[in-house]
Each structure stands twice: as C-alpha cells, then as structure tokens.
C-alpha cells in the first residue's frame, strides 16, 4: 500500500512534463479535453492519496476508533504509515483545502465581474457583439451568465487593423470560445491546480490548446492563411500601440507558448498522428486513480483485520 499511494504524485509530475508537447502536437480539441480531464482525475487522485495517508491518524481518535470497532493501539502497530507521514498529509490537506476555497472564491468573483461587464455593455442590438471605442487592438469573448448569452467584444483598434476576411476570422475565433464553453475548461484546470499544485504548469498548456482550438475554427471558417494573417497583423498592431498603463494582457514568461507559435501552427499544418501522446496522458490519469483505488482497497482490508471481534 505504501508505495502505491505515492503513485498519483509521480503520475502528476510525469503528466505535467507530457502536457506541453501534448498541447502543441495533439489536435487542439483533443488536447484541451484530455489535458483538462487528466488534470481533474489526477487532482482527485492526489487528494485521495493524501486522505489515505492522513486516515490512520484520524483512525486513532477514540470516537472514530469506537465507531469503527478497532482499538487505537492496534492502528498504531498495524498500519505501516509513520505518524510523521500522516501529519504531513493532514497539513497538506488543510493547505490544499484552503487553496481550493480561494480558487472557488476567485471563480465566483469572475462570475460577478462577467455579469457586471454584460451590464456595462448594455443591450447592443442583438446583444451578441459589442464594439469598443478603443485604439488598442484586441478582441475578447465574454462568457454567458445564467440569464445572458455570451458576447464577442472587439475594439475599433482591431477592426481598423484588419480587412474583411481577417475580421471574420477574429469573430469566428472568439465565437468558438463561446460555442465550446472554453471558460469551463479554464475553470476546471484552475481548480485542479489548486488541489494539486504540481499540476499548475499544465494550466498554461490548457490555455494554449483552447486558443489553438479557436484558431482552427477560425481557419475553417475563412482559411488557414487568413487566420494566420489576422493573428499576426493583430499582434503587430497591438505591439505598436502605446500600452495603456492599466495592464490587460498576461505577462508571458520565457518559453511560454504564445502568438508566434499559434501563427506557425496555422501555417504549417501538422497532419502526423500523435495518438501515442494522447494515450500516455490517459494512461497517467488512469494510473493515478487506479493507484488510489488499489490503496483504498488495501486500507479497507487492513482495517478489517484490525477490527475487534
């Protein structure tokens, strides 16, 4: 039991290393789905594994021991988990719960902000598209709320920089974000990373896969060349616009995947199959959850033997 319970952590580390090539090589839709799902499964697995490590300490508490019909002393001697490991597991669980609650709070604030933005935009025509009087070229997809549909927001700066085809590509890109409910993917990956900090780097990979997914939709609507051109022109226009003091773009680190990689991907279509990567991701996630299932089963059996007749 002891070795198996650490498997989810190892699987998480391996997964994070794989998620970067995965988000570049797999078809974007598949990449987004598999990386996000694997993150959710691995987060659940690591929390489960920590729970199993923390459990023996809990089992020694007299009330719990009485309910389970085993002697606290028997637990101390019969369970091969050192007290220190259990304590660390407990502390980790508390810290992770705190992170999860924080993340949920953040998500809730984002929902409030979304509603507020919808209200600021007001009822514009059919309510699907809003044009911002803003020289900074940018376009956004504003997610739906419970009562309002999603919207594409585009600035006059961006409209001015592009021709008709390219504008269509941008609109198709943002529309794709709304159609495929990409906000859910980012929210789930954020929550998974909160529960398992090792997974944090994979969030950027999910984000990249989602942008590529929307890029592919835009390319399908116009053409790969047009979509690539729209992206490149828009990015260059944004770079040449004096930045407002209020930061609206994420600050990118070294080696992070961004606009140039997206343009390249649109121009050089990669038709090779990378199924092995997808299977590996699935395998790691399954490995994590199976390890926890196995360890749980072992623990149950162990505690059965500790039960007093």
């Amino acid at each position: 039991m002891r070795a198996v319970v650490y498997l989810p952590l190892l699987a998480s580390v391996a997964f994070v290393c794989l998620s970067r090539p995965a988000c570049r090589r797999l078809p974007p839709c598949r990449a987004a789905w598999s990386i996000t799902a694997a993150m959710a499964v691995l987060a659940a697995s690591t929390v489960g594994a920590l729970g199993l490590l923390a459990w023996p300490l809990m089992a020694r508490v007299p009330i719990v021991a009485a309910a389970g019909r085993w002697r606290p002393g028997a637990v101390t001697h019969g369970v091969p988990v050192p007290v220190v490991a259990s304590l660390v597991a407990w502390l980790a669980l508390v810290a992770l719960a705190h992170r999860a609650v924080d993340q949920l709070g953040r998500l809730r604030r984002e929902l409030v902000e979304t509603a507020r933005l919808h209200a600021e935009l007001g009822s514009t025509g059919r309510g699907r598209l809003a044009v911002l009087d803003d020289p900074v070229p940018e376009a956004h997809a504003l997610p739906p709320t419970l009562s309002l549909p999603g919207r594409v927001v585009i600035s006059t700066g961006l409209l001015a920089a592009l021709d008709d085809d390219e504008r269509a590509a941008v609109l198709a890109h943002e529309h794709a974000h709304l159609t495929h409910a990409h906000r859910l993917f980012t929210a789930i990956s954020a929550l998974a990373a909160a529960l398992n900090p090792v997974l944090s780097p994979a969030r950027a990979n999910v984000a990249f896969a989602l942008e590529r997914w929307a890029d592919e939709d835009a390319a399908a609507r116009t053409s790969r060349a047009v979509a690539a051109r729209a992206l490149a022109k828009a990015a260059l226009a944004k770079l040449s616009t004096p930045r407002p003091t209020v930061a609206s773009a994420l600050i990118m680190g070294l080696g992070q995947l961004g606009v140039p990689e997206r343009v390249t991907a649109l121009l050089d279509r990669d038709d090779r199959s990378h199924d092995a990567l997808a299977w590996l991701l699935v395998g790691l996630a399954l490995g994590g959850i199976l390890a926890v299932a196995w360890a749980t089963h072992d623990t149950e059996r162990l505690f059965e033997t500790l039960r007093t007749r």
């Binding site: 409030v112 933005l117 059919r126 376009a139």
Partner: protein, 113 residues
C-alpha cells in the same frame, strides 16, 4: 438611406432620416422606403410615441453594433474574464511576427480552408 441609419447612434424616426438625407426627398417617399425596407427585414422598428423609430437589423457578423466607451480596466478579475485574442504578447515576438507576415505576403499559400 441605410447609410444614414448605420451612421446614427440610435434608432431614427422618419423626420430625422429626412433631415440626415438633406431634404432632397419628400417625407412620404422616405416613409415609403422605410416601410419597404422594414417589410424586407433589413431594418427593424420600435414605437416612439405615435411614430416608429427605425434602425438596421444587426446580423451576427456585422461589425457595427454599438460603440461603447473603453471599458478595459482595472481589476485582476476583469483581466481574467476578458482573456483576449492577442493575449500574452512579448516585445521580442515582434521580429518573428514581422518575418512571418512578410513571408505570407510574398509567398501566398494556395491553402484553402
């Protein structure tokens, strides 16, 4: 006439359309054209007092919706909600992007869709 309606910042009643067009046409002519455009579904109307105010129907991919003042602003939450088309751009990307654009313009691919 549609151009006048597009250029307006809100719905227009026939009198306002007439004024925008410079008064070359008769009021009745303007009325007739507006009614016909409405029947064709090109414009829509809302009742304002006893008259109708007309405005163009906004198709989903039409670019002119309403011009809203800059609302990009403070708050990390707002930035998180509004993840953009060109997010995460570095100054050093500029050279690479210019090169890519130059390539695209000199050797257009015959790629379709």
């Amino acid at each position: 006439m549609l151009a006048a309606l597009w250029a307006a910042s809100g719905p227009l009643v026939p009198a306002e359309v007439l004024a925008a067009l410079g008064g070359d046409l008769a009021y009745t002519t303007v009325m007739t054209i507006l009614v016909r455009l409405h029947e064709k579904g090109v414009i829509e109307r809302t009742k304002v007092g006893r008259a109708y105010a007309y405005r163009p129907v906004v198709a989903e991919t039409e670019v002119v919706a309403e011009r809203v003042r800059r609302l990009l602003a403070q708050g990390h939450d707002r930035a998180a909600v509004l993840q953009g088309f060109i997010d995460g751009l570095r100054p050093e990307d500029e050279a690479m992007l210019r090169a890519m654009l130059a390539d695209m313009e000199t050797s257009p691919t015959s790629e379709a869709g």
